[in-house]
């Protein structure tokens, strides 16, 4: 892979106490948001590790982020080809293992997780057929997962939504199971921006280590470059909670 650093040099900063936690960020051909995801990891206090889709081994990482973008140009189906990348089989195995590797799939990463069958359901085109980019309020429905434990159940957060194939679909039985088992992690608030079944924006697996969502928490992590909170008009850094959650889980912290 190239030697370009994943994030900018932010100058001398005090070493964060959690910087020992290594969060892998996977780049596929067509991935767009790997650098923002790596930056979010760094801002949350962890150490981002660049992973390449063709790598045969996962290496020494404590968690993995599958970032957004258009892997393989969304050809075939969004996420369908990336799913067969050599590194993905390692990630799937590690996520299902006793070690329960925490995996967060954002947007295209969520699509890859459903194509990999780590999460149920699938995404189809937005019901209005348009690409949509907006600040989006979500309700945290499950605040117990590896990626949401720094939120409160019912908390409303503002992050960025930007996608074309964002309509979450699954059969009624699967949807009932997700609801019954508390595996709906996030729901759209105020407006369903893509026709997702039951307003679902993100889900988790039963173990809570694999979470996928269509909106982009990594774009809401620092003032000046983040969406505005609808109520206060202040910059929303709510997305940081995803990354501090996994760091908290990795060090065995209490909720």
């Amino acid at each position: 892979m190239s030697e370009t650093p994943l994030i900018a040099d932010l100058g001398t900063k005090e070493e964060a106490p959690l910087s020992g936690a290594r969060i892998g960020v996977v780049t596929f051909p067509g991935t767009l948001d790997d650098r923002d995801a790596a930056r979010a990891v760094r801002l949350a206090g962890g150490t981002p590790v660049a992973l390449w889709h063709a790598d045969e081994t996962l290496g020494d990482v404590d968690a993995v982020v599958l970032p957004g973008g258009f892997s393989y140009g969304d050809y075939l189906r969004a996420g369908a080809i990336a799913r067969f990348a050599p590194l993905m089989s390692k990630i799937v195995d590690a996520a299902k293992s006793d070690a329960k590797l925490p995996v967060l799939g954002i947007c295209n990463g969520f699509q890859i997780l459903t194509e990999s069958h780590l999460l149920p359901g699938s995404m189809v085109k937005n019901d209005h057929l348009k690409f949509i980019c907006r600040d989006q309020v979500l309700r945290v429905e499950n605040a117990e997962t590896a990626w949401t434990n720094q939120f409160e159940a019912g908390q409303e957060i503002t992050v960025v939504l930007k996608n074309q194939d964002g309509q979450y679909v699954a059969d009624e039985k699967t949807l009932d199971e997700l609801e019954g088992e508390g595996r709906v992690a996030f729901r759209y608030v105020g407006w369903n921006p893509n026709g997702s079944r039951r307003g679902i924006a993100g889900i988790t697996n039963a173990a809570g280590n694999v979470v996928g969502l269509m909106p982009h928490p990594e774009h809401a992590v620092e003032p000046g470059f983040a969406p505005l909170d609808g109520d206060t008009g202040a910059y929303s850094t709510d997305g940081l909670g995803f990354f501090t959650s996994v760091l908290n889980q990795l060090v065995g912290g209490a909720k």
Partner: protein, 100 residues
Amino acid sequence: MPRIVVDVMPKPEILDPQGKAIVGALPRLGFTAFSGVRQGKRFELTVEGPVTDEVLEQARNAATTMLSNPVIEDVVNVEVLAEDAEDTAAAGAAAAGAEA
């Protein structure tokens, strides 16, 4: 060379936004006879050599594991393209003639 066709359609219960957009646009061009459109995908798999049962089985497996997503799509057809069988026969005859 022979080709195998794989047809994939969105499941009936899945809303097909593209089909919906098309059926909305058809009457604007005067095509008023159609009350519904569903848009699917057609894949053509080229085979080097004859299409054996094993090759066809591979195509069926590829169709269900990669070319379609069973959550949202159905494989509605897997078949060998008929005209290609003739092409291959003609090509074979030509090759045989050249050798003779």
